[in-house]
Symmetry: C2
Subunit: 190 residues, 2 copies
DNA sequence: CGTCGATTGGTACAGTTGCACCATAACGCT
DNA sequence: AGCGTTATGGTGCAACTGTACCAATCGACG
């Protein structure tokens, strides 16, 4: 192996530039030359590490997803072992809200990819910010008769995400609304 | 007035082409030449009726909004005079779901504009598919102590919109989930 | 030391982009 | 009929797009 360079690190560095541009101005701002300038590398490097522009966008999205999933897992693991269902559920729902710069950018990038990738059935799964496993988890955390509530809860959190991104609601208020729902669902006399 | 041509009709015809392209492949597909081809008019005409491309996108969005708002008002008016609060509320919430081609395209186009227009504070209001008046209406339809529920209900409907667009949930199921929430909120012993 | 493959850089090119410009046609008015 | 406004068409251009191509450089291994 000549010239030892960290391939993965390089790709993540470039992908991060894609995220910033896409989050700020949508996919059309993420041209090869502009991403290269944002990342501070020659444009040719993107070709080498990703191939075509389509591959670049696709690769950047995949990296974002695994990056975000790792962050989410970390935050949830920080609750400690065997957390109470309510606290666990709350953390899962809060992952859907842009409560810090990381999550905000993640959701913005997903929004930027949304329409473009929805046309292609194979790509459609990569732009959901709620993996199916999370949905199952939420359903498991609530009593069986509350399956409808579980699904609506997830939808509600996703909807609040949009409100927050648009600045139409404060993060504090969104969290409060979720907590009210949890109050109800975990009330003593369910 | 020489050469009587229906200015507004022309603009709507062109705007509809923007909607189709933006809904199918995002804003980057809505180039001047491509919109012209889709509308079947010379590209020069877009310049004449809208100005720059930015103006075209902006104008097409405004036309979509007023078009959609009219459609929504019509559907709600079809409930007849002084409908029961629950039916009225249900109709308002269902406006957020892509239950027909019109609403589906409207929400897709909004999604296409989302990131691009969020950067500009002045344009941010044009990409919300829930006008503030609707939010107030929803709050009014529920008893005072249910303000939190009203806001979460709207967020839930908006979240279901995303699930439906992505094909992760059937329209039937989404409507069912909303009806369950309404069952609860309008239960006799509130 | 030389060689070979991994990596980088620069550039060239055909296609597309948004937009400005100029001519001309169509029409309502005086 | 003539004029002025409104509308239309076509074309040109500089900037930018994605990507193919060629040359050079680097480092590890023989």
């Amino acid at each position: 192996m000549p010239r030892q360079v960290d391939h993965e690190e390089r790709r993540r560095h470039i992908a991060a530039a894609v995220w910033r541009l896409a989050a700020a101005g949508g996919l059309e701002d993420a041209t090869i030359r502009r991403v290269a300038a944002e990342a501070g590398v020659p444009a040719r490097q993107l070709q080498y590490y990703f191939g075509t522009r389509e591959d670049l966008l696709l690769g950047a999205l995949d990296l974002l997803n695994q990056h975000g999933e790792a962050e989410a897992r970390e935050r949830i693991a920080a609750l400690g072992p065997a957390p109470e269902p309510r606290r666990l559920l709350r953390s899962v729902l809060l992952e859907l809200l842009p409560l810090d710069e990381g999550r905000r950018r993640r959701h913005l990038v997903h929004a930027a990819y949304f329409v473009r990738f929805m046309a292609d059935e194979a790509l459609r799964d990569r732009i959901r910010d709620t993996p199916p496993e999370l949905e199952d988890l939420v359903a498991l955390l609530l009593p069986e008769e509350h399956r409808d509530e579980a699904e609506f809860l997830l939808a509600g959190a996703a909807g609040l995400q949009g409100q927050l991104l648009l600045g139409h609601m404060s993060a504090h208020r969104a969290v409060e609304l979720i907590d009210r729902q949890l109050d109800r669902l975990f009330a003593p006399a369910g």
